[in-house]
């Protein structure tokens, strides 16, 4: 499983992505817990519900199930255009 970070999330994680080979999170909620543990500075943002999550490049807004081969992205509100 690949977890990609964008914009100021990357400033907190200090890397573009994590690759998780063992015991990948099984749901978006699992993933959130894992991220809070790995990156304590992310916790307040994750809890404030402003972040967006994409599974294999599709937005998800519910606690969807994850597959070990998924590409997950976590990012702040967009600002293109």
């Amino acid at each position: 499983m690949i977890i990609k970070y964008f914009a100021w999330i990357k400033d907190i994680t200090d890397k573009d992505y994590d690759e998780i080979k063992n015991n990948p999170p099984k749901t978006i909620n699992d993933l959130k817990k894992m991220l809070c543990e790995s990156y304590p500075d992310l916790e307040k943002h994750i809890n404030s519900d402003i972040l967006r999550y994409a599974i294999n490049m599709e937005y998800t807004s519910i606690n969807q199930k994850l597959n070990s081969k998924d590409e997950i992205a976590i990012f702040p509100p967009v600002s293109g255009g």
Partner: protein
């Protein structure tokens, strides 16, 4: 057509390129977004646009196809740049091609609204003494 690129583009060439094959089209509505020199009460020097490329291609294609279906467009072009951009540089072009003007106007506005809301791009503005990641306002 969807293009996500670093380099600048020429409005005349990009629109002509599509229009030349569509002789039934009487109306092209377009929107061009530029880097502004002033934002958040500070002078802007430049911006850096980050993109989640593969997802942006998918999202823009989805928005484009919805607009084509909804307004029966002959075609639709979206070009979005990424990377370092200076003040007054173009950021985005949306051009909607239709027989009559009403549909092209509405489609162009619809695409911009969705692009601002859902396309995975992030702007970091560089001011004279600091920088800041932005959040789109509606």
């Amino acid at each position: 057509m969807i293009k996500i690129q670093k380099k600048n583009f020429n409005l005349e060439k990009e629109i002509k390129n599509i229009k030349d094959n569509l002789s039934s089209v009487g109306a092209v509505s377009s929107f061009i977004g530029y880097v502004r020199d002033f934002n958040n009460n500070e002078d802007v020097k430049s911006i850096c646009l980050e993109v989640y490329y593969e997802m942006a291609i998918k999202e823009l294609a989805k928005i484009k196809n919805n607009a084509i279906k909804k307004w029966n467009l002959a075609d639709c072009l979206i070009i979005h740049r990424y990377g370092e951009l200076k003040v007054s540089e173009k950021i985005v072009l949306v051009a909607c091609f239709s027989e009559h003007r009403k549909n092209s106007f509405e489609a162009c506005k619809y695409i911009m609204d969705f692009l601002k809301k859902d396309a995975p791009f992030w702007k970091k503005e560089f001011y004279y003494k600091r920088s800041s990641w932005l959040k789109n306002t509606i």
